[in-house]
Amino acid sequence: MASSVDPLVVGRVIGDVVDMFVPSVNMSVSYGSKHVTNGCDIKPSMAVNAPKISISGHSDELYTLVMVDPDAPSPSEPSMREWIHWIVVDIPGGTNPNRGKDILTYVGPRPPVGIHRYILVLFQQKTPIGHIDHPNSRANFNTRLFAAHLDLGLPVATVYFNSQKEPANRRR
């Protein structure tokens, strides 16, 4: 089981954003036809809209998903760590984030400098969440504190991809 989180350790996702955990839920993430595997490259232009995500688990269980960038604004000086891109709560097991409650709308990557990691972390909830106060700012979010505040425990699934600025000839 430990070997399945090796890429997260090597990528310092475990350490920078979450603590060591044992994955217990399958989470499949795709941007268009590209399936996200740990450390793969995704162009910002491919990630403008929220990815398709499906999770395993039982329908009577509820899950919370966050997407963060710990390398904001740059990996060498991440003064905005973590920049929160998406928060969805109350996702029923076996479904997808569209079935949950969007707390903070999805914003695609737009890394100004360097290669940034974009990390999707899934937690299992102990109770329905419903409504939570929106973070005051998207910068300086803390996944560990957020999880502690909602008593979410350790993650049940995590995957991350890399993204960097595209040349200026891309069109919006």
Binding site: A72, P73, M80, W83, D102, L104, T105, Y106, V107, G108, R110, P111, P112, H134, S137, R138, A139, K165, A168, R172
Partner: protein, 188 residues
């Protein structure tokens, strides 16, 4: 002798050109900057009318133009929130008598409030010259109205989406698109 004359003629020619350039009227950078910025947006006319309605735009630099457009977007989001609150209170009694519609309108007011928060965050990042982050906040602001519209559709068959709200949703989307275009122009 001939060489000396041609050298001093060249010198005088250069001197005349230099004086001509120095006294020529300054290029109308102000008007053409607004035009260039607005051409980079999806809604040129809306951009022009938005920027020109603020007198400071003629002296603004590109960052200042973004700031003016952001202020207009924020005013738009705020007015939609107010409109939703008035609908929810139901001056005609319609919404007040329908708890489901009332709840939808309150959810929507919440979403447009978040759009306003995002635009304020964008202005802060703009001031700090974190342009990519300013851009992302506007992307978020632009997406919240869709969440309001989606709420009307769920669960099927949903509730009729008021046309006055649809019009305002479109208005906020357009002004946000204008802001995004000018930020791209700023970065180019």
């Amino acid at each position: 002798m001939g060489l000396q004359i041609s050298t001093s003629s060249s010198f005088i020619l250069i001197l005349i050109l230099a004086v001509a350039v120095a006294v020529s009227p300054p290029a109308k950078a102000d008007a053409s900057l607004i035009q260039k910025a607005c051409r980079a947006t999806k809604y040129n006319d809306l951009c022009l009318s938005t920027l020109k309605s603020d007198p400071s735009s003629s002296r603004a630099d590109p960052k200042g133009l973004v700031s003016i457009a952001l202020a207009a977007a924020l005013a738009n989001a705020t007015s939609v929130s107010s409109f939703l609150s008035s609908l929810a209170l139901g001056s005609s009694g319609g919404a007040a008598r329908d708890p489901a519609l009332s709840r939808l309108l309150r959810d929507c007011a919440d979403k447009y409030g978040l759009a306003g928060d995002a635009l304020r965050a964008s202005a802060r990042d703009l001031a700090g010259e974190a342009y990519d982050y300013a851009y992302m906040h506007v992307m978020a602001a632009e997406d919240y109205p869709r969440a309001c519209r989606d709420a009307f559709r769920r669960p099927p068959p949903g509730t009729a989406y008021p046309p006055e709200l649809a019009r305002r949703e479109d208005g906020l989307k357009r002004i946000c698109d204008v802001v995004l275009g000018i930020i791209d122009f700023l970065g180019s």
